[in-house]
Amino acid sequence: MDPTIPLKEEEKESVCKKMWIIGFFGLPFVWFTMACYFWKEKHPKIRFYVFWGLVGFFTELLILVFWMGIFVSKRDSWGETGESLSAVLPVGTQ
C-alpha cells in the first residue's frame, strides 16, 4: 500500500509529528520506528523529534526491563499476586 512510496519533503514533518504524538499513548516502540524512518533527516525539528523519541524509547525500555527482572526473580515469593500476574507458568519451580 502506501509505504512503497518514498515521502516527499513537505510531508515529512507532519508525518514525524503524528508519529511523535502517537508515541505518547504508552507506545514507545512507535518512537523507535519513527527514528528508523527519519534517521537521516537533517531538518532541525525532525531531529528534535527523533532524538527525544529515542530518549523516551530507551527510558521506557529500561523501566520495562527493570520490572521484568523484578518479576522474574520475585515471582515465587509473592504467592497469590505472582501467580495471577503470570502469563506463562514455568514448570518445575517451587
Partner: protein
C-alpha cells in the same frame, strides 16, 4: 549494419549500467537506458530479440536475490517456530469446529480423501465469493471499507496471534512472563506494525513486519488437518493459475476501476523496494504525453501509483492485483476470530468455514512506472505467496529436517523458475503453482523414500 551498431551501443550501455548499478541511492542516469529498452520493447518498437532477452534476464537475476532472501527467511522462521513451540503440542484440531469434515484416523483413506476434498473445495468457493464481494465493494466506491479491514486485520494478527505464538514459545522455553509486560510489549509491537504496514514506515521495518505476519499466519494455518492441507494447496495452485492467466474475469474489471480512480487497491504486497530516480524520457508517444498531463494534475496526490500511464497499464494491473492478493486473508482472519469466539455459529448453514481467502492472488510482477520520477524496480510478491510457501514448509517441519530441506530447495527452485518466466514473458504470473507442485512432489518423495532409506543406512552406520 545498423544492428551491429545497436549491439555495440547496447554493450556500452550495459557496461555503464553494470558499473553504476551498485549504488542504488544515486540518481542514476543509466536508468534511462533500462527504461528506454523496456519501454521500447513494450511499445513494440523493438522486437525482444536475443540481445534484449539476455539483457532482461541479466537484470532479473540480479533482483532474484532480493526476492529469494525474504522467502527463505520466512520459511526458516516458520520452521523454527514449529519445531520449537508447535511440534509437541497434540494436534488440537483448532479448525475442526469450522471444517465440514473432521479428519480422524479411524476413517479409511478414501473417506478421508473425499472429506478433505470437500473441505478444500468449500474453502476455494469461499475465496471466490469473497473475491467477488471485494471487487463489487471496490467498484462501488467503498474502498474505505477495504482499507479499514486491512488495518483491522493486520492489527489483530500482530497482537492476537503474536501473543499466542509468543506465549507458546515461552512455554516451550520455560520462562516466566507476567501479563503487564506481555500486554505492553505486544500492543506496542502491534501498533507499530500496523502503522508501518498500512501507513508510512522505514523500508526494512516494513519488510520485517510483513515477514512476521506471514510467519504467524502460516504457523496458525499449519494446524489444519493433513489431507485438507495438501488438497487445499493443490487446489489453490490451480485456482491461482486459472485466475491469473485467464483473459477475462473480475481481474480486468478491478484493474480498470483502479485505473479510473487512480488509487491503488488496498492490500499487502512485499516489495523489495529498490528505488531509482530517473529523468523522464525524451522519446514519448502521444499516449505518454497525455498521461504526463494527467499526472501533473494529480501531482498533489502523494502516491506515485496514481500516475499510472497507459503504457504500463498491464504491469500496473499486476501490481494492483498483486497488492490485492494477500489482503483477503486478512479479511478472513477477522472472520476466523469471530468464528472462534462465537462458537454458537451455525457453521452448517453457510459455507463460511475457514476463510483463507486469496483474491487474484500471488502475482509476481515488476512494476515499471515510466512516467513517474520515482520508479520502483523491484519484483513484487504477494503476501499470500509467502504464507502458502510457509504452509508447505510447516507441513514438512512436522516430519523431520530432511523433508524440510528438500521442500525448501524445491520451493526456491520453483520461485526462481517463476522469476525467470517473469523476465521472459514480461507480464504478471502466478507465483504459487510451480513452487507448490515442486514442493509437493519433493515432499512425498522425500518422506516416503528418502527418510526410510536414510534411517536404514544410519542404523548400519553408512553415512552418505
Amino acid at each position: 549494419m545498423s544492428s551491429q551498431n545497436e549491439i555495440e551501443e547496447k554493450k556500452k550501455k550495459k557496461k555503464k549500467r553494470n558499473n553504476k548499478k551498485q549504488n542504488h541511492k544515486q540518481k542514476n542516469k543509466t536508468k534511462d537506458v533500462e527504461f528506454n529498452t523496456r519501454y521500447e520493447i513494450q511499445e513494440g518498437k523493438r522486437d525482444p530479440g536475443k540481445e534484449d532477452l539476455d539483457y532482461i534476464v541479466a537484470v532479473y537475476t540480479k533482483q532474484l536475490r532480493k526476492v529469494l532472501i525474504p522467502v527463505a527467511v520466512t520459511m526458516l522462521l516458520v520452521v523454527l517456530v514449529i519445531r520449537t513451540a508447535y511440534k509437541d503440542k497434540p494436534e488440537e484440531g483448532a479448525f475442526n469446529d469450522i471444517m465440514v469434515y473432521n479428519e480422524s484416523d479411524e476413517d479409511s483413506a478414501g473417506f478421508r480423501f473425499g472429506g478433505a476434498l470437500l473441505n478444500a473445495v468449500i474453502v476455494i468457493a469461499v475465496i471466490l465469493v469473497v473475491t467477488l464481494i471485494m471487487v463489487c465493494l471496490y467498484m462501488k466506491g467503498f474502498d474505505w471499507i477495504l482499507v479499514g479491514w486491512v488495518i483491522f486485520s493486520v492489527f489483530i494478527i500482530l497482537t492476537f496471534y503474536g501473543l499466542l505464538t509468543w506465549l507458546e514459545i515461552f512455554q516451550y522455553l520455560n520462562k516466566s512472563l507476567d501479563w503487564i509486560s506481555a500486554l505492553i510489549v505486544i500492543i506496542n509491537f502491534g501498533v507499530a506494525g500496523t502503522i508501518t504496514i498500512t501507513w508510512k514506515g522505514a523500508k526494512i521495518v516494513n519488510q520485517i513486519y510483513l515477514i512476521i505476519i506471514s510467519v504467524l499466519f502460516a504457523a496458525i494455518l499449519s494446524t489444519l488437518p493433513e489431507y485438507t492441507t495438501w488438497i487445499l494447496l493443490v487446489l489453490l495452485a490451480i485456482y491461482d493459475l486459472v485466475v491469473v492467466l485467464s483473459p477475462k474475469g473480475p481481474l480486468k474489471m478491478l484493474v480498470e476501476t483502479a485505473e479510473k480512480k487512480g488509487k491503488p487497491i488496498p492490500g499487502l504486497i512485499y516489495s523489495s523496494m529498490v528505488w531509482f530516480m530517473s529523468k523522464l524520457e525524451k522519446n514519448k508517444t502521444k499516449k505518454k504525453r497525455k498521461n504526463e498531463k494527467k499526472n501533473e494534475k494529480k501531482k498533489t496526490s502523494s502516491s506515485s501509483e496514481s500516475n499510472t500511464s497507459e503504457s504500463d497499464h498491464f504491469l500496473q494491473n499486476n501490481k494492483i492485483l498483486n497488492s490485492n492478493s494477500s489482503e483477503s486473508e486478512e479479511n478472513l482472519i477477522k472472520d476466523n476470530h469471530e468464528i472462534d469466539k462465537e462458537e454458537s455459529e451455525e457453521n452448517e448453514k453457510t459455507p463460511t468455514k475457514i476463510k483463507i481467502s486469496k483474491k487474484k492472488t500471488k502475482k509476481k510482477k515488476k512494476k515499471d512506472d515510466n512516467s513517474s520520477a520515482l520508479l520502483d524496480h523491484s519484483p513484487k510478491l504477494g503476501l499470500g505467496d509467502f504464507i502458502f510457501y510457509s504452509l508447505l514448509i510447516s507441513k514438512a517441519a512436522y516430519q523431520d529436517y530432511t523433508t524440510v530441506f528438500t521442500c525448501f530447495v524445491a520451493i526456491l527452485m520453483g520461485l526462481s523458475l517463476t522469476l525467470f518466466f517473469l523476465a521472459l514473458l514480461q507480464k504478471a504470473l502466478p507465483a504459487l503453482p510451480l513452487s507448490i507442485f515442486f514442493g509437493i512432489i519433493f515432499f512425498f518423495i522425500t518422506s516416503n523414500v528418502l527418510v526410510p532409506m536414510n534411517s536404514l543406512l544410519f542404523q548400519d552406520h553408512v553415512f552418505l
